[in-house]
């Protein structure tokens, strides 16, 4: 058994069978991660002591006869999730020294299921970004080309699983922050229905959009993690009280009778030739596997970006007001409390966070609320209605997970160009739909020579996670795209 390369399912099976101990898994993984992560920069901190402590606990529980769904599975946690006793920074200077005194519900469920925390992963500051470059603590590199971004905002969570320094990881997705980096890093990234996974302990970016989800190297592993973290949490009023259908077992292997919607407005014509070819092949594969391709219309999808860039910043402007230098985090003193606030926030937040706070504050301010925020909320209704109509004609919608393969660092200096990376992921986020990215091959970027991973986005109606994962699983097993690529820079055990 190989704790670096094996699937979560395989590791848990071996640990539960006591063929290998969780402690052995931890002891083999820790030096590997310590060696490899210097180049990759997926982690902001490693937590080897905590990992060992959890491994001992798992070994005791297994010895006592318990069977744990994630027994001994090494997991990485996006650093916007609180974990008691660990620094939890959200990639921001304003929280550089914040030690969380409590643990996020999703993280706790993962640990209770036997997972071993390797460390906290890098992210765009407060999850705002599509490349990972907005972290206050340096860049995370793409495991498939260290000169390229891993995507964002869940940069380190995608890079660690893609680069074989974690078996599973948790990310958070607000407008595409799980799906886009998953596509860039050759992994499965799954954003469940809004409200499926508790947000308690997830540092908020945009509360009505944020959703925690897993990264894994297989759909089955993603399903395994999802089954553990999903479900009602009494500490999150927006978590949904609705039975979670187990997804990990018996995922379908074929696509016969599945109607896959191809969005008319998401024409591939504007993509670069290599990306277009990759997606055309993916659609053809779906059809070849028995799916019926149907054209569906999302006429309001083109308003997604504008809608998102009002709603998300508006919520963030309010959510980030608590970072004020009073109770925790950075403080830059001033002669009075108002000056202290302004200096602290000026020094603590990076440029992208400041831009979004300014946009959001403006969109909510007196005289503009109706024209901007309220208008965006109404547009959101129309976008959700469009999806509902589209799903009358299909079971899942297939689309690109990103507009291109991973780009080079500093390639997108203009904010709006960067925002356009999320063009395909944002509409589904606004509608709260479950959506994932599954590896669908590779394409040579326009500015490069080496093939980079690509991801196919699949989106389904609210609360149909099992059906969605089934389609992804069938596609993945039939195509085996992820296995055809190996990260050249890392993964040497």
């Amino acid at each position: 058994m190989d704790p670096v390369k094996d699937s979560a399912r395989a590791i848990a099976r071996e640990v539960n069978a006591r063929a290998v101990s969780a402690t052995e898994v931890a002891e083999r993984l820790i030096p590997h991660v310590e060696r490899v992560d210097g180049q990759l920069g997926a982690y902001l901190q490693l937590t080897p002591d905590l990992m060992r402590a959890h491994a001992r606990r798992v070994d005791e529980r297994v010895a006592a006869g318990e069977r744990l769904p994630l027994a001994g599975v090494p997991v990485a946690l996006k650093d916007n999730m609180c974990l008691t006793g660990t620094r939890t920074t959200a990639g921001s200077k304003i929280l550089e020294n914040f030690v969380a005194p409590y643990t996020a519900t999703a993280v706790q469920r993962l640990l209770d299921a036997g997972a071993l925390p390797i460390g906290k992963t890098n992210l765009d500051e407060f999850a705002m970004g599509s490349s990972g470059e907005n972290s206050a603590f340096g860049a995370t590199r793409n495991p498939y080309d260290l000169d390229r971004v891993p995507g964002g905002s869940s940069a380190g969570s995608a890079a660690s699983v893609g680069g074989f320094t974690a078996t599973l990881s948790l990310g958070s997705d607000t407008g595409g922050s799980i799906r886009e980096p998953a596509a860039f890093c050759n992994v499965v990234g799954f954003k469940p229905t809004y409200g499926r996974v508790s947000r308690y302990g997830l540092i908020a970016f945009a509360s009505s959009l944020d959703q925690i989800g897993p990264f894994a190297r297989t759909v089955e592993d993603a399903a395994l993690a999802y089954d553990v973290i999903a479900g009602k949490d009494p500490l999150d009023a927006t978590s949904v009280d609705r039975e979670v259908e187990a997804t990990a077992g018996d995922l379908r292997d074929d696509l016969r009778g599945v109607r896959v919607g191809i969005v008319k407005e998401f024409g591939l014509g504007e993509l670069d030739a290599a990306s277009r070819a990759c997606y055309e092949a993916a659609y053809a594969d779906l059809e070849r596997l028995g799916a019926e391709l149907v054209e569906v219309a999302l006429p309001t999808a083109k308003y997604g970006l504008a809608t998102y860039y009002l709603i998300a910043p508006a919520e963030c402007s309010s959510n980030l007001a608590r970072f004020d230098g009073v109770r925790y985090g950075l403080r830059v003193d001033g002669s009075d409390v108002g000056e202290m606030y302004e200096r602290t926030r000026a020094a603590g937040f990076g440029a992208e966070v400041k831009r979004r706070i300014l946009i959001g504050t403006y969109a909510l301010s007196s005289g503009y609320y109706d024209a901007y925020y309220l208008k965006a909320q109404k547009a959101r209704t129309r976008i959700a209605e469009d999806f509902a109509r589209a799903f009358e004609r299909c079971d899942v919608i297939a689309a690109p997970a990103a507009a291109s393969p991973a780009f080079r660092f500093n390639a997108k200096n203009d904010p709006v160009t960067m925002y356009l990376m999320d063009y395909y992921t944002i509409p589904g986020s606004l509608a709260g739909l479950p959506s994932l990215s599954v590896p669908c091959g590779a394409a040579v970027p326009e500015d490069g020579t080496r093939s980079m991973p690509m991801g196919l986005q699949l989106t389904s109606p609210l609360f149909t996670e099992r059906a969605l994962l089934g389609v992804a699983h069938a596609y993945e097993r039939a195509t085996m795209h992820a296995e055809k690529l190996t990260p050249p820079e890392t993964c040497n055990t």
């Binding site: 009505s208 927006t238 308003y303 009075d336 926030r345 706070i357 403006y362 959101r380 959700a384 709006v416």
Partner: protein, 100 residues
């Protein structure tokens, strides 16, 4: 829509964010660009459309009135991250603005 009228200093003041002159010079046009995209929304007909604040149809999520000591943090833990404390209190510079 009134995108060309962003008074960035006023907005920054509302957001309690001190901006440098360079930031004002960069952010101004960047926000203008974004608001130009946003202005496209005006073309979308939203007459008689309800606003969506939450996508999931939950209603009346409440908790029974009762203590949850397991969620509380100790006095020391509460103050452990404080940038400045005095005795059992968080300490801040003097308050001059009358808010609330």
């Amino acid at each position: 829509m009134p995108s060309d009228r962003i008074d960035i200093r006023h907005v920054a003041r509302l957001a309690r964010l001190a901006l440098t002159n360079e930031e004002i010079a960069t952010f101004g046009p960047q926000l203008g660009d974004l608001m130009a995209h946003v202005d496209d929304l005006a073309q979308l007909d939203t007459q008689d459309v309800a606003a969506t604040a939450q996508v999931v149809p939950s209603r009346n999520v409440q908790r029974a009135d009762g203590l949850r000591p397991e969620t509380m943090v100790s006095h020391d833990a509460a103050l452990a991250n404080a940038p400045q404390r005095q005795g059992p209190f968080f300490r801040v510079p003097r308050i001059i603005a009358e808010e609330g």
